[in-house]
């Protein structure tokens, strides 16, 4: 009788091993200050990865989130500075920009049936360019103090940015497991044609998941701006790849039909451990990219082993 291990096994093992290794080697990883930094860095990826899990569950992908975060960040900062808006209004503006970009993605994919990689590729290029157009290529500082302190402070001992990240992960997890929306997403990923032929409102649901992703990208943008104390047009660059890495590491298959937000959360932690671990060793961030590539391959390999697909290809 074979024990079927859960999908999160691989990434949980990585997190445990990495954490143990680092905790033994460096005192920071045992202290609350160090853990706070770790979680803070992971927050922005956590937000994006949460939405990405849902997208990948439908068998799709969204490579535009980084660019959407960028253009939302610039819009946010512009509203605060040039337009002189108050913080709450600017926040809404930022979220709207993200929502809009996500909606365009959703329309292209659900309504016009473009392959997700194509539609989000186009948005990837256009949104980034949009960020440059809006900002004139300049970075925007002079942001209001409450925003900056959001990037630095903490609530109940946990840094502020972690709260929206945790919320995003929990919400997406609940959506996936306990709502009809989530069930439809998984059905879509399992068998696209059948879903579309079934007469259920699949189009709407597919459009919705990309729209949600755009919204979450904007939330991430707020965190990025607060932490960096500036909004740069390049904000969020490469975060889509990091998010996809986290989702895949967590055990969600790229083909869709199955998903685990818990796995994604662990994947985000793993990436945070790798990043902070490399820095603790005093190495430059290029090593982080290298390690991420290895971690990705390793986790997919482990997942193969776990699910018993060890037959060699025909």
């Amino acid at each position: 009788m074979r024990l079927r291990l859960p999908a999160e096994t691989g990434v949980a093992a990585v997190v445990m091993l990495a954490y143990l290794w680092l905790a033994v080697s460096f005192p920071t990883f045992r202290e609350s200050a160090g853990l706070a930094v770790l979680l803070n860095n992971a927050a922005e990826i956590g937000v994006i990865a949460a939405g990405m899990t849902l997208v990948i569950a439908t068998g799709g992908i969204d490579v535009s989130v980084g660019s959407v975060a960028g253009v939302s960040a610039i819009a946010f900062a512009k509203l605060l500075t040039s337009a002189g808006w108050g913080l709450p209004e600017a926040l809404l503006g930022c979220l709207t920009v993200g929502l809009l970009c996500g909606f365009i993605n959703g329309t292209l994919i659900a309504r016009f049936q473009l392959p997700p990689i194509v539609a989000t590729l186009a948005m990837f290029a256009a949104a980034r360019a949009g960020a440059y157009v809006l900002s004139g290529g300049e970075s925007i500082s002079d942001l209001p103090a409450p925003l900056i302190s959001f990037g630095y402070g903490s609530f109940l001992g946990i840094p502020y940015p972690v709260w929206p990240a945790a919320a995003a992960l929990v919400v997406c997890g609940v959506l996936l497991r306990r709502t009809a929306f989530g069930r439809e997403l998984l059905a879509l990923g399992g068998n696209r044609e059948a879903s579309y032929l079934s007469g259920r409102p699949v189009r709407r649901i597919e459009a919705l998941v990309y729209t949600l992703n755009g919204l979450l990208a904007a939330v991430a943008a707020i965190i990025i701006v607060a932490r960096g104390a500036t909004a740069i047009p390049d904000a969020g660059r490469f975060s889509e790849m990091t998010a996809i890495t986290a989702v895949v590491m967590g055990g969600t298959p790229v083909s869709g039909g199955k998903a685990t937000v818990l796995g994604t959360a662990l994947g985000v932690l793993a990436i945070g451990l790798i990043t902070n671990g490399v820095r603790a060793y005093g190495k430059g961030d290029i090593w982080v990219l290298l390690m991420l590539g290895l971690a990705l391959l390793l986790s997919v390999e482990v997942d193969r082993w776990r699910s018993g697909e060890r037959r060699v290809a025909a």
Partner: protein
């Protein structure tokens, strides 16, 4: 003869050729630029245009092969840099340029083979594999070269980077791959695997071997493009072609190649690459800052994809 004449006149036949929209777009943009912007026509500009077209074109042709098998290769830019730096390092250490270039090609080929191995014997999804190798190859190149520029390259090597040489190489590669796809058994197998992998396997096609060779070919193309790029820049550094992977895929999409595999052509990918390069040049000359090109590229990709959808709907109706 009459049949040929009739079929040329037959409008629905043009619709059936998937490369028509791309060719039409290219023609339009080129004619527009030639007639309205004198800077476009200058020999200098055309030389730079040719250089870029050759490099992106070769990358796009290799990528098209992979996409035809319903796979994807995100690591082409990183493989290019790895190949270029290998060759550059050898050249700077006195190895004759021809040997160095061959070594560079071997590195590209090897990188592709590695991708192919991971995709077939490990059965890992191509998008994840090549995302990982994109990071791995780029990082490895940086660490192994220490960010050093290999910029004392022999003049005879640099000659292959000149505009006309670059374009010639592109045309040769495109032609070879076109013939390969259409005429060789491997080529036919490739398309079959992309169309329906299970059916292909059931009909006796050695799917794993076909896939490995496809990714290896894409890696080889990245190697060729890498040699030309190093020659054109007079420099091989780890950052070469950083971020080009999505441009390459955009070129393939604009050229009408279906991302789900089985349909499309090297010709289309080549046209797509030309369109991107010409558009970029047109935007240069209109004074628009580099970072804003994405608006145009993104829109063109979306429109190309939508057009392809529309074309297939029309095709089904006629």
């Amino acid at each position: 003869m009459l049949q040929l004449a009739n079929s040329i006149r037959d409008r629905s036949a043009w619709l059936r050729i998937r490369e028509t929209p791309a060719a039409a777009l290219l023609l339009t943009v080129v004619l527009y630029m030639i007639s309205t912007n004198p800077a476009f026509r200058t020999a200098d500009n055309l030389a730079v245009l040719a250089q870029d077209a050759g490099i992106l074109g070769i990358l796009a042709c290799g990528e098209a092969l992979v996409i035809l098998t319903s796979g994807i290769d995100l690591s082409v830019g990183s493989s290019l840099a790895m190949a270029a730096c290998s060759a550059g390092a050898l050249m700077m250490n006195g190895v004759p340029w021809l040997l160095s270039a061959i070594a560079g090609l071997a590195v590209g080929f090897g990188a592709g083979l590695f991708n192919g191995f991971l995709v077939t014997s490990r059965r890992l999804p191509p998008i994840i594999v090549t995302l990982a190798t994109l990071l791995l190859f780029r990082g490895l190149t940086n660490v192994l070269t220490g960010a050093a520029p290999y910029n004392l390259l022999p003049e005879s090597f640099k000659a292959i980077g000149r505009g006309y040489a670059s374009v010639t190489a592109f045309l040769i590669v495109a032609l070879m791959l076109w013939v390969f796809l259409g005429r060789s058994r491997l080529g036919r197998h490739l398309v079959a695997v992309g169309g329906n992998e299970t059916a292909a396997r059931l009909s006796g096609i050695p799917v794993a071997g076909v896939l490995r060779r496809t990714y290896a070919t894409a890696g080889l193309c990245a190697g060729v493009a890498g040699m030309i790029m190093a020659a054109a820049n007079g420099n091989a550094q780890w950052t070469l072609a950083d971020g080009w992977e999505l441009d390459v895929i955009a070129a393939v999409v604009i050229g009408g190649v279906r991302l789900t595999g089985g349909e499309g052509s090297v010709l289309g990918a080549g046209l797509g690459a030309l369109i991107i390069v010409v558009l970029r040049n047109a935007l240069f000359l209109s004074g628009i800052p580099v970072e804003q090109y994405g608006l145009v590229t993104g829109t063109v990709v979306a429109i190309a994809a939508l057009t392809e959808q529309w074309r297939r709907t029309m095709e089904r109706r006629t």
